[in-house]
Symmetry: C2
Subunit: 627 residues, 2 copies
């Protein structure tokens, strides 16, 4: 699934959404703003952990604006209400926002950013309010430096009392207030993680000693889950739980709602761990600061954490978990491979079923984009160690496929007809996370559709085959997947690949393959996971995307053997034969596809045969005939 | 010629170099340091304009250390003397430095930078000295922030009196002190520049008004030359002159040694220009600051300029000249094309002459790398509007070709034998600047040499043929020139291309094609010049580089025609047929080369025919036969 440009809207709906009109909420917010002499109030999309996916209670921007897209930030002044969001969401925002809201174009050169707008529209020495938990240190620094020009102050919510929560509270009689989830946390066995938490802690403490710090704060939820070998289900699709961790040289404290931990889980926690209530982290840091402890905080963390520590005691630096977690160990690599094999079994059964329903039965009336996505989920649920989907399935027919972040709605999604069908989906398994996209055609494709698919496929195959020195950054190879589209004037407006967690978030940094500079702060290294997902989108007509997960691995080369790296494909699902123009492929490309078919035949076909699903067996055998 | 990784050593020698022993100079420096309570003194390589090439008087780092490489920074403490330089220069530094100097590895991950070293080795509240004119604001900010940790202060030379100049002064009796050049400045006619200085000023003033500034400081020498349509010869290879310019909304002041301007040149200066002595710029800025003028200074400029302006009056921002100068106008593009045609005539005559001397006459004793480079310069001098070389010619046989920044020495350079020969050279013409590399073979190449050359050529051709959307940054396409090398485990340790000035510096920003992030701060845009120079270097054996200059231009594509850009090749010199393995080339690649030969036949052959140089005519006809 596409990172950043393809965040999906969570299935969770805000309870009772819409009972209280947005205008009344905004009016109420303004009375609170006036009490605190605020000229503007910023409502970001993220939670206190700067998460991409958030739980219902944290959907404050959606609550105050009515806009439900995953990316966007609301700014309310005493007489304006604005929403910044990027091109994917302008149409949706227009539908969802009340008419007195103004949509601001995010990430468009020449259009004002939030900072620019505030600087132009506020007066000298005005005050802007924000919840310090919801803004990362990095973003805050940049905003502060812009607003300095007019001596505009950023004022944090007093006593951490979020003004949107206060608005919600004041409408308690009319609208139910969601609670934070109470879901149990469970221990992920060594056979899945490959490394005990004590071992991970030891390495981190070595790094802390090198930096001469006493404490390291961990606030990203997937980093906490990874560090403690724990998983939860507080947030849809991401198996994480709301918490903070503070690691000391001898100590470790987990800040979490303790009721989520049963005795068995507690017994598997690293030795000497202390458990404190979730919100106590701030008090703990303030007390440690008073004791003169040196405290390491990652700049991706919230300003609220930074505000607990005085400058002399602070070390601001990316934490070592980010990179260590990204480089998978042998157990995790094997787990990812195994999970992708079972995931392929599910997806292949689904694709065989689709072929039968849509092409053979020619039954074009009974299936919708949404209903078939439920069918696909059913096949995944049959796989061992399946936990949940890893994101909302994108299931789109014809023109809907051109909407990169399309999510079929249960009641209004389109009927599947004979045409181009794109399905981007994935699962969370105990041993790994999957993310795969295939584009099929259930009718007679045009030559143009075939040629476009073949160009996307050539990019996808070219990247799979690439060998490169290990100094290479993902940004440096992004164009390998694009040149065959570029040569005829085509392109796709998203990155080519993102990292994938090991039974963790489907979008994981720091690695990535993208022309967007920010997406790739590190070099590619053996053990990293990456998706390979070029596409092509023709507005109003069709969308094409082909996506595999790959693992970076050493490769054999004629010279300097061993010093170069490349990719191991671990997704094993056939491409759409109907859409391949053989005349456009080089010999190397054909050889790659044939070898891929052979691998599917060896690794997946026997498992399909075991299901006794004769349709699936026949379908697969037919799909993997050598070109 | 390769940017950054291939800076060449200037021909200029320091007068009387070596009469006073380095150790005595360092000793003297330390007495001055003690007078000012300095624990360390930094001696950068650059001049007050942060120039890549500098004049003899500004070679302070070479004077104090004895190291003559173009890149490197000396640090002298009370008991240590160190030189930071990158891998290209370690061998040379070892030869040139006295034994008590320590060579520090610059740009190597894990090795301490100057800042790191100072932080580790100095004590709290120590003072580090530097000449504020020789350090850019950007670099100073970074150093200051590192040294803050130990409260180490950076102290600028008092009254702008550089301590190295003071050392020189104190040895005046024993060693001559070089003077700044007094070379005349001349006006470059509109037929070469395509835009009058008044017009350029008008655009800049528009930008200044937008930013609400009163004055803009221009300190980069090529930006001043471009802005005023003037050229000089204060610095080898770069047709610039030592000066500053301060542009006001109505005013403009040129700070320069007025004796360099004759009446004719003065009459061609933009209307209303005032002329002040070179060093008066600092006083002028201080006075303007006192008057409350808002002053725009580019962060690539020296701290000395920044120190004249108070924070409230300062606008720190890249100036608009950088990008405007990089995008060539129609006149400049035509001039560049014309200059490259004449340059090709010179280089082709040289290559034909080489073939005759080395292969036909088999005369392997009478020619050296240096002497043939003089011959090549002779052919260039015959061309109309030739001014000078654009950099020291790299002329290298066999193993010397693997030394990327090789410069043949007049007395010690190798004899030309039958083998692989690399020549990287260029000229300054009134209508444009050239930079071209060809690799030849004057014997029987091995299959390995042929295959390596063909891989480099495929990268070079692939980049020439590339079409891409205009959002693309040079970094995004660098790998296109590398993948054929990568596939067998090979690579080259330099960027693929740099910008080229229009009768200005041969290395020009901001555009570039390189995996080094810093090299590409901007997107590629039609009108920009770029070199295309992949290579391969086999230490101890041979070096290969193939380099053309290209101009970014709109291209025709099947879809979205006009929205994509690509490259116009303007260098017109044949590749080495002997080194091409036809079996490795695709049809598109062969078509490109054949079309290139045809273009050379049409544009260059008639000019060679005019010279009546029959050897050259025959050689060229033979070289451009269709593959």
């Amino acid at each position: 699934m596409q990172r950043v440009l393809n965040k999906v809207i969570s299935k969770d709906k805000i309870n009772n959404m819409g009972k209280v009109a947005i205008s009344r909420k905004v009016e109420k917010l303004r009375t609170f703003m006036k009490d605190q002499s605020l000229s503007a109030y910023i409502v970001p999309s993220e939670d206190a952990h700067q998460s991409e996916y958030i739980c219902v209670k944290d959907k404050r921007r959606e609550y105050i604006s009515g806009f439900s897209g995953s990316a966007g930030c609301a700014v309310i002044t005493l007489d304006n209400q604005l929403l910044w969001t990027d091109g994917r969401y302008w149409l949706q925002a227009e539908k969802e926002l009340e008419s007195n809201w103004k949509i601001m174009k995010d990430r468009v050169v020449g259009e004002p950013t939030i900072q620019d707008w505030l600087l132009s529209n506020l007066n000298k020495e005005n005050k802007v309010g924000i919840d310090s938990r919801l803004i990362s240190k990095g973003y805050y620094d940049s905003m502060k430096s812009t607003l300095k020009e007019k001596s505009i102050d950023i004022k944090f919510d007093e006593d951490g009392e979020n003004l949107i929560d206060k608005v919600r509270e004041s409408f308690r009689q009319e609208e139910e207030i969601p609670e934070y989830p109470k879901n149990p946390i469970f221990f992920l066995e060594d056979k899945f993680t490959g490394k005990q938490s004590n071992e991970k802690l030891k390495e981190i403490r070595e790094e802390m000693k090198k930096q001469s710090v006493d404490l390291m704060v961990v606030s990203a939820l997937d980093e906490i889950a990874w560090l403690l070998n724990l998983r939860g289900s507080d947030i849809s699709f991401n198996p994480v739980f709301l918490s903070y961790v503070v690691v000391g040289i001898q100590t470790i404290t987990l800040f979490v709602d303790e009721s989520k931990l049963n005795d068995k889980t507690k017994s598997q926690l690293p030795s000497g761990i202390a458990i404190s209530p979730y919100n106590q982290v701030f008090e703990y840091l303030r007390a440690s600061d008073k004791q003169g402890k040196k405290i390491w905080i990652d700049p991706r963390s919230s300003v609220a954490l930074y505000n607990c520590v005085s400058v002399v005691n602070l070390i601001e630096k990316i934490n070592p978990i980010l990179l260590t977690k990204a480089i998978k160990n042998e157990t995790e690599i094997q787990g990812m491979k195994n999970a992708h094999i079972r995931d392929a079994v599910a997806l292949i059964q689904f694709l065989a079923w689709m072929e039968e329903e849509i092409v053979e039965k020619g039954d074009e009336t009974s299936h919708t984009e949404y209903s078939v996505s439920e069918k696909l989920e059913g096949f995944r649920r049959q796989q061992s160690d399946f936990v949940s989907l890893s994101f909302d399935t994108i299931s789109s027919i014809n023109a809907n496929g051109a909407i990169i972040h399309y999510k079929p709605d249960e009641t209004t999604s389109a009927t599947i007809v004979k045409g181009m069908y794109l399905v981007d989906s994935g699962g969370q398994y105990l041993d790994g996370t999957t993310d795969v996209t295939r584009t099929l055609h259930y009718g007679q494709p045009t030559q143009h559709e075939i040629d476009c698919y073949t160009r996307v496929l050539r990019g996808h195959v070219g990247l799979s085959l690439l060998k490169f020195p290990n100094r290479v950054n993902g940004r440096d190879i992004d164009c390998v997947a694009r040149t065959h589209l570029w040569s005829v004037g085509l392109d796709y407006a998203h990155g080519t690949g993102h990292g994938v967690g090991s039974f963790l978030n489907v979008h994981e940094g720091p690695q990535g393959i993208s022309y967007r500079a920010i997406a790739n702060p590190t070099n590619l290294q053996a053990g990293m996971t990456l998706t390979n997902e070029p596409g092509y989108y023709e507005s109003g007509n069709f969308g094409i995307r082909i996506e595999n997960v790959m693992i970076v691995a050493p490769v054999t080369t004629q010279f300097n053997n061993g010093k170069f790296i490349g990719f191991d494909n671990i997704t094993l699902v056939p491409y759409e034969r109907k859409l391949i123009n053989l005349d456009m492929l080089t010999k190397d490309e054909i050889n790659f596809i044939n070898a891929y078919y052979k691998e599917i035949g060896e690794k997946i076909l026997p498992l399909i045969e075991k299901t006794n699903n004769q349709k699936a067996i026949n379908w697969l055998k037919n799909q993997i005939k050598q070109l």
